[in-house]
């Protein structure tokens, strides 16, 4: 923890992410508008004191919609990545432990999923699963599952032959306990780093899917659908698209800086042991 605060990337990234999360959690609650409120007297009005992000073609406050939409995007992305992390890490560790055909099956399955570009895979899954928030979550989960499986299997393979794991086996520690306590404790950090990057990109996937009309359905706000709207009126009201895009960028920046900072911490910790 202490090291985390010393690293500038981690600090800055963490601060931005924290602000974004607070905004997304508290904001919609504080906002005087609801995302569906239409004000026909203020259609497509530029940013002003009443509407910091302006309004869209239905007179809805863009800031409020962005906050609600961001909430959805972040939740969906985080849920998908979380599921991918849990299931993928378990699959990876088990294949490292058992080796043999278990490892072959899991890794080849992972290769199969990874051979699709992530967005194409997500699109395909949406077609198969139908368009809804749940299926976006599943899509994000499937995109990241192989990444966590591979990562955890590689790290667990490195760690499992270490003398201290052999010692644990000699003491009679049961396998699941070795995997859960000993090994997981040592591979946790890279997994967290991957998760942070994953949530960032997951937001992009969700936004992309919704932009195409495949994800969250209107009138529910979603970053992607707001941008789709904004694109139509871009020449008349550029703020809708721009402000939404900026919001996404800031969230991504925060998450990526945070994960960079965490990753930097892993190397020097090993280096300074000399």
């Amino acid at each position: 923890m202490k090291g985390l605060l010393a690293n500038r990337s981690a600090c800055l990234g963490g601060a931005i992410t924290l602000i974004v999360i607070i905004a997304v959690v508290v904001g919609p609650w504080l906002s005087i508008y609801s995302p569906a409120d239409m004000d026909f007297f203020a259609l497509l009005s530029p940013p002003n004191w009443q509407h910091p992000f302006g309004t869209d073609s239905f007179g809805r406050d863009v800031l409020t919609r962005v906050l609600y939409g961001a909430r959805v995007s972040i939740l969906v992305s985080a849920a998908g990545v979380f599921l991918a992390a849990v299931l993928g890490t378990a699959a990876g560790m088990l294949s490292a432990h058992f080796g043999g055909w278990v490892e072959t099956v899991v890794m080849r399955a992972a290769d199969l999923l990874l051979s699709f570009p992530s967005f194409v895979l997500a699109l395909f899954l949406m077609v198969v699963l139908g368009f809804s928030i749940a299926s976006v979550t599943v899509a994000i989960m499937l995109v990241y599952l192989p990444i966590f499986a591979r990562l955890s299997r590689n790290m667990a393979t490195l760690v499992k032959d270490e003398p201290w794991v052999q010692a644990a086996r000699l003491f009679g520690q049961p396998v699941y306990s070795i995997l859960g306590r000993e090994i997981l404790a040592n591979i946790g950090t890279p997994i967290l780093v991957q998760a942070a990057t994953g949530v960032a990109f997951g937001i992009v996937i969700e936004a992309g899917l919704s932009f195409l009309g495949l994800g969250v359905q209107p009138p529910n706000p979603s970053l992607g659908s707001i941008m789709a709207d904004g694109r139509e009126y871009f020449s008349r009201a550029p703020w809708v698209l721009t402000m939404t895009g900026l919001a996404i960028s800031i969230a991504l920046l925060g998450l990526n800086l945070l994960s960079d900072g965490m990753r930097d911490l892993m190397d020097p910790k090993l280096r300074s042991r000399i």
């Binding site: 201290w164 052999q166 644990a168 000699l170 003491f171 009679g172 520690q173 000993e182 040592n186 042991r273």
Partner: protein
């Protein structure tokens, strides 16, 4: 405590009996041959004795030590312990004896989970074997640390905060917690500073005296083996080539390889600087016919090319595997061993 001069009384039941154990690593490709890391080794380990496994790298000493703990499955042979053949036992049966058979690793730092505190690492086996719980655990950890010459405060530190010597003592403390009957020490002092080595060696000797635990001490350093061990088994190319009480091995080595090892402890110049024709580390695998040592042996005779010498000697406890140890082309075969 057993001395280095006398042999184990024949009527004491061995703690562990290793019978014709062989361990073969399969050939990696069609042109390599299978490597026999351990080749037909038989050995008895008495309760409370310290036996040294001495040899160079590739001799199989470390593999043998790990095999008798069940860490490697033997390709053939039996390892009898408390009426069970460990080589044939399944995982469940092995687990029952886990407490009794333990290992101290060569590199103390990598034998501890770097993320856990020393106290937690020591407590783990105590908890697994339900020796104590809760508050009693902390007290027991402190007691174990003090027993190896450290303070209870060390329990809070992380492995990388301690030195090699301290960590090795913690490793011994961790193993002591579950009162094993046999400890394999795999080059346990090789990586330690000279001044710290003495501390750990003295500690091992003391522990053997206090709780009568058998020690299988794997080392390439003959001087250390001489200090610590009652008996020494010299290994070459996966086989035991000489076996006997420590002092007998040092004062009267019979096998040419043992003699060469002892010679290497002399001061320079040793006069023979050229590369050896065949050494365990570089050669491909065990030769099937004849004696493994013949290419380096100064007393080689034609019999060595076709027959493999068995481990035989004047008594069951003093044996060596050589047809011609004294260099005479003699027809006297060494006296046959008393059948076990």
């Amino acid at each position: 405590m057993l001395s280095k001069f006398s042999v184990t009384p024949l009527n004491v039941r061995p703690l562990m009996r290793i019978e014709n154990v062989t361990l073969e690593f399969p050939a990696r490709s069609r042109k390599d041959s299978a490597v026999r890391a351990i080749d037909d080794v038989s050995l008895d380990i008495a309760p409370g004795e310290i036996i040294g496994l001495v040899g160079e790298s590739g001799s199989g000493k470390t593999t043998l030590g790990k095999t008798l703990l069940g860490m490697h499955p033997a390709s053939s042979g039996r390892i009898w312990y408390e009426g069970v053949d460990l080589a044939a036992a399944d995982a469940a049966a092995l687990r029952q004896h886990r407490r009794d058979l333990q290992l101290v690793f060569q590199d103390p730092l990598s034998s501890f989970n770097p993320r856990f505190r020393i106290g937690d690492s020591i407590a783990l086996p105590l908890r697994l074997h339900r020796i104590c719980r809760g508050k009693a655990l902390g007290a027991e950890v402190s007691r174990l640390l003090e027993r190896v010459g450290l303070s209870g405060d060390h329990a809070r530190r992380f492995p990388h905060e301690l030195s090699g010597g301290q960590l090795q003592r913690v490793a011994i403390a961790r193993v002591l917690g579950i009162s094993p009957k046999l400890i394999v020490a795999d080059e346990a002092v090789s990586k330690l500073d000279v001044s710290v080595r003495a501390q750990v060696l003295n500690l091992l000797k003391k522990i053997n005296r206090d709780i009568n635990v058998s020690l299988v001490f794997i080392t390439h350093d003959l001087s250390v083996a001489r200090f610590l061990c009652n008996r020494i088994a010299v290994m070459y190319f996966g086989r035991i080539v000489e076996l006997g009480p420590t002092e007998s091995i040092f004062s009267d080595p019979r096998h040419p390889y043992t003699r060469r090892l002892l010679e290497a402890r002399r001061a320079l110049p040793i006069g023979d600087m050229a590369e050896d024709a065949a050494s365990p580390a570089s050669a491909g695998g065990s030769i099937d016919r004849g004696c493994n040592y013949r290419d380096r042996c100064p007393t080689r005779v034609s019999r060595c090319d076709v027959e493999r010498p068995g481990l035989e000697g004047p008594s069951n406890e003093r044996r060596f595997a050589c047809f011609n140890p004294d260099g005479d082309r003699g027809n006297d075969a060494p006296a046959r061993a008393v059948a076990r």
